[in-house]
């Protein structure tokens, strides 16, 4: 079977119940940015919910993009490695440079209703096959050493998907 090149997607949900420090910073910063930028689409102050803006105001969907500016500094702190997702040795290793930020819901009157997601898209990785519930992966283009190609075993889990797949050209 030829190896496949895949890119993983991890969708990380952040809301008022998020406990990690990084998540809390993203929560606070994205809410502050939402309060600023939402005013462009809510000049008559008719709406309180993000979902109302989406429904009634053309272009309010740009807030996904505009609010994402608030989280870029936090993405940089991750040093280009997926947060949370570890191999079965407990190490974070999935490299990424691409992301997409989503507003799930927000509320100009109530911070507790603010909920966002960051989708992390990995750099291309070689999928050598699956063992039980685990994907056997290596960095795409990883050179063989005396032991062969070094790999990581990653468990399938909620919010971790395969974003794209293509056959490896050898």
């Amino acid at each position: 079977m030829p190896n496949n090149i895949i890119r993983l997607c991890y969708r990380k949900i952040i809301d008022a119940s998020s406990a990690q420090v990084w998540d809390k910073y993203v929560f606070d910063s994205s809410y502050a940015e939402f309060l600023l930028q939402a005013q462009l689409y809510n000049q008559e102050k008719k709406y309180t919910l993000f979902s109302e803006l989406l429904l009634h105001v053309p272009n309010a969907k740009k807030l996904h993009f505009l609010v994402s500016a608030a989280v870029v500094g936090y993405l940089q702190q991750l040093n280009d490695i997926f947060p949370d997702i570890t191999d079965n040795l407990g190490r974070q290793f999935v490299p990424f440079k691409n992301f997409r930020f989503e507003m799930i819901e927000s509320d100009v009157t109530k911070k507790a209703n603010h909920r966002v997601a960051i989708n992390f898209f990995s750099e291309p990785m070689t999928w050598h096959g699956s063992i039980g519930n685990y994907l056997l992966l290596s960095a795409a283009g990883e050179k063989e050493n005396a032991d062969g190609v070094l790999t990581h075993l990653v468990p399938l889990q909620p919010f971790l998907g395969i974003y794209s797949v293509k056959e490896e050209i050898l």
Binding site: S29, E33, L35, L36, L40, Q77, N79, P155, Y163
Partner: protein, 244 residues
């Protein structure tokens, strides 16, 4: 040497060669295990989740990536310095310090930074917010941005969007800055500058008088002062009066 002993030694040597690898693996595992002390894992009965690592060494509170004076990122074009002065009509048009000023404009080809396509198209986080910036006015009410001369797109005259907030983040003014036009103007000169990547010229350009935003600005209050040259770059100066 008897065959079995020879075999034993051979196996021992292979084993010795692999020992450092195993030690290394154990070492890393130990580090990972120590790190779990600061994170919460979940477990159910005897089935425990693999140990996790901390989110990053030391997360720190970081301002929005829009807070920068050089807003070019990966965009190229003729240099443009954007100087905007904010004045307060509620205070005899004195300079308004501490106001937050957001600006955004298109690149030389007429494109804004935004999510393209639909759904889950991914973007590189380091360059995606090009030509958007945020600064806070100084004691003279001034903010300054380093950018490139905006191009244009069908239906609109060359323009820069501005959103002014008070220090608390409440919106005070959403407006746009227009450019002087006509032969010899910066707009005409820059858009003829194919050497700098401006390929559209002025054919099909929408002039201020026909622009659906600027056409009612008969006094030219929205038109900035633009000085400079293609070689040296241009400087735009404009004053925006807000009621703070």
């Amino acid at each position: 040497m008897e065959p079995s002993r020879k075999k034993f030694l051979k196996n021992f040597l292979i084993g010795a060669a692999t020992v450092p690898v195993i030690l290394e693996a154990c070492k890393k595992d130990t580090v990972a295990a120590a790190e779990t002390a600061t994170t919460t894992g979940t477990s159910s009965g005897s089935c425990a989740l693999a140990p996790t690592e901390t989110a990053g060494p030391f997360p720190t509170i970081t301002p929005s990536s829009l807070v920068r004076s050089d807003i070019r990122l990966d965009r190229t074009g003729v240099a443009l310095t954007i100087n905007i002065t904010v004045k307060n009509t509620s205070n005899s048009c004195a300079a308004l310090s501490g106001a937050i000023v957001d600006i955004w404009h298109c690149d030389k080809d007429g494109y804004y930074s935004e999510y393209g396509g639909t759904g889950m198209q991914s973007v590189n986080y380091t360059t995606v917010h090009f030509l958007r910036g945020r600064q806070t006015t100084d004691a003279n009410g001034l903010v300054s941005f380093t950018s490139i001369f905006p191009g244009w797109y069908s239906g609109r005259a060359t323009h820069i969007h501005v959103h002014v907030y008070n220090a608390a983040g409440t919106s005070l003014m959403i407006t746009q800055i227009a450019f002087p036009e006509g032969s010899g103007s910066a707009v005409a000169t820059v858009n003829a500058s194919t050497a700098n990547g401006y390929t559209k010229g002025m054919t099909g350009y929408t002039y201020n008088a026909s622009d659906n935003v600027f056409s009612d600005d008969t006094s030219g209050a929205e038109i900035a002062t633009v000085t400079g040259s293609v070689a040296a770059g241009y400087t735009l100066a404009h004053t925006i009066n807000v009621k703070a």
